[in-house]
């Protein structure tokens, strides 16, 4: 069964674009990353799945149930909003207990374990919490009832690196026990390190969806030349950065052509490396043209759609 499935899901806020014809499938048991720059539509997608906003058109199902039945499937979901905001006058312990009561469950043991691992002080008032500690409270509220599906909207922002590690440890434990993890992020390394599959969304549209290793495997090379400050126009280079007498760029064409071109330049040194995933995606965010990623994604997104 698919934990999440959307069919041509579209959401507009008046005339403002939210998401357009989004087709997303997350299978049960997956650790799924949802990547995109700010304003791409990640939160809109998540908020639609949670029933906070109504889709303009299209349909979606969560844990096999349509959006209309959200009151029942929300029981099996642990959600962490990107801006974790709670009732200021409550103490952290009261907040966590309130969340459990709203689920008609006694989660006190699990909550205590989570607070202990995350080093969260339950005696503090919510209004005294830093962003990081508010995030921790959100993690406890999202995890204490052992849900089947975790929907996490940029969960790591505000957490220090040690807590991020502990957090992903917790998620991996839950994932091994069969839970599905769906989290949005614009930190690509955390997607690369933790996810089995990922989808990229840009300008409200699904740009690619594949296994993470496929998304990052491309025939693109990162080339750095020393001794020159400009590249010949004939060379098909992308993401060109020049600093002093050094130029680096991404190259996707024939390697022999590259060598021929470079052979005519007065270079002192040259390195050819695999690009970082970050660089591939960064290029992807910035330019409207077809990048290495969507070629790899088997033409899920045509160039025509891209340019719109």
């Amino acid at each position: 069964m698919n934990a999440i499935e959307t069919k041509n899901l579209t959401k507009n806020y008046g005339k403002v674009r939210g998401i357009t014809d989004l087709n997303l499938t997350v299978e049960e048991g997956e650790f799924f990353g949802f990547i995109g720059p700010n304003g791409a539509g990640k939160s809109t997608t998540i908020r639609t799945l949670l029933g906070l906003i109504q889709p303009t058109s299209g349909s979606a199902s969560v844990l096999g149930q349509p959006l209309q039945k959200k009151a029942s499937y929300l029981a099996d979901i642990g959600y962490m909003p990107s801006e974790a905001m709670f009732y200021n006058e409550m103490k952290v312990g009261e907040l966590i207990a309130f969340s459990a009561k709203m689920r008609k469950q006694d989660c006190s043991k699990e909550a205590a374990m989570l607070c202990d691992r995350l080093k969260l002080d339950t005696g503090k008032r919510v209004e005294e919490l830093s962003l990081g500690n508010r995030k921790k409270a959100a993690i406890v509220c999202a995890m204490q009832h052992n849900p089947r599906l975790y929907i996490l909207d940029e969960p790591t922002s505000g957490l220090d690196p040690l807590m991020q590690k502990e957090f992903f440890e917790l998620l991996k434990e839950r994932n091994r026990k069969g839970a599905t993890i769906f989290f949005s992020s614009h930190v690509l390394s955390e997607v690369q390190h933790n996810c089995t599959r990922a989808a990229i969304v840009r300008d409200g549209r699904l740009a690619a969806m594949d296994r993470v290793e496929n998304l990052s495997r491309t025939n693109t090379k990162k080339v750095t030349l020393h001794g020159v400050s400009q590249l010949p126009v004939s060379l098909e280079a992308r993401s060109v950065t020049a600093a002093g007498d050094m130029v680096s760029f991404l190259y996707q064409g024939e390697i022999r052509t590259l060598l021929d071109e470079v052979g005519r330049l007065p270079i002192r040194d040259m390195t050819i490396t695999e690009p970082e995933l970050e660089e591939i995606f960064l290029h992807y965010y910035e330019e409207a043209g077809s990048g290495p990623v969507d070629q790899k994604a088997g033409g899920r997104c045509s160039r025509k759609q891209e340019v719109r």
Binding site: Y79, E83, M85, F98, M102
Partner: protein, 262 residues
């Protein structure tokens, strides 16, 4: 139920402040009465001859030399205005505060239907108003006994009952409005309560404006009428209940399907 309990805990401090504030003002009025009683005979004549002012507050119909007449005008205005403002404040804020304080997302991602959330919040408004009125009228009744005065029980119940009904109506209308209007519903609510109060004054003064009595709930929560006739204007009261119910229903309907802001 968990949400209802949360609202109750969250609201108790404000409720206590308003309840005690209104009760204290009523009690001050009541405890001043024995002192003023003797001067009231001449005052009654004076009050009865103040033209439109007299008409606006119905002072020609009431005897200020008796506690009921004095209580009707003085205390009626205190609990009328104070209660209406609190009802507006409470009703207008109950739903909109979740979006204003960005807690709607947290609340609504729990496995409860929107309807259930709205219902618990609506009941919370209603119950808080009932509690306020019970405490206020009890303290008031005790104060009346303390100064050794009498107040006919039936009229007392009708008077306070009509103010409760007025507050429930305003609370329900503001609750309904707040489902539709994200920002500024508090200002609109408080403004509405004040406008309704003044509409009543106008309808008292001018016979041309008699139609206004079908709009404002202050038209049935009227000491001059209740104390002289010994009954409520049930027709107007029923109309008020209809207004409250329609506004609340519209709020329920919309809140159950609208997009929540993050």
């Amino acid at each position: 139920m968990a949400l209802f309990v949360k609202e109750w805990k969250q609201g108790t401090r404000t409720l206590a402040v308003w309840t005690l504030g209104i009760a204290a003002m009523l009690m001050v009025c009541i405890f001043l009465f024995p002192e003023m009683k003797h001067e009231m005979d001449s005052m009654t004549k004076l009050f009865a001859n103040m033209g439109t002012f007299t008409k606006a507050f119905g002072m020609d119909l009431l005897n200020f030399g008796e506690l009921s007449g004095f209580y009707g005008v003085e205390c009626g205005n205190v609990i009328g205005i104070g209660g209406a403002l609190f009802a507006a404040y409470l009703g207008a804020g109950m739903l909109s505060k979740e979006e204003k304080e960005h807690t709607a997302e947290f609340l609504m991602t729990h496995p409860v239907s929107r309807f259930c959330v709205v219902l618990q919040k609506f009941l919370s408004v209603m119950i808080q108003l009932v509690v306020l009125n019970l405490v206020v009228s009890l303290l008031s009744w005790i104060s009346i006994r303390v100064i050794g005065e009498q107040f006919p029980a039936k009229e007392f119940v009708l008077l306070h009952g009509s103010y409760l009904l007025l507050q429930l109506e305003i609370g329900a209308i503001c609750f309904g409005i707040s489902a539709w209007i994200r920002r500024g519903s508090l200002g609109i609510g408080l403004g509405l309560a004040a406008v309704l109060y003044f509409l009543d004054l106008i309808s008292n003064i001018s016979t041309d404006a008699a139609l206004l009595q079908y709009i404002t709930p202050f038209a049935y929560a009227k000491p001059a009428h209740i104390l002289t006739a010994g009954s409520l204007d049930w027709g107007l009261a029923a109309l008020g209940i209809v207004y409250g119910a329609v506004a609340a229903a519209a709020g329920f309907w919309w809140y159950c399907r609208k997009d929540l802001t993050a």
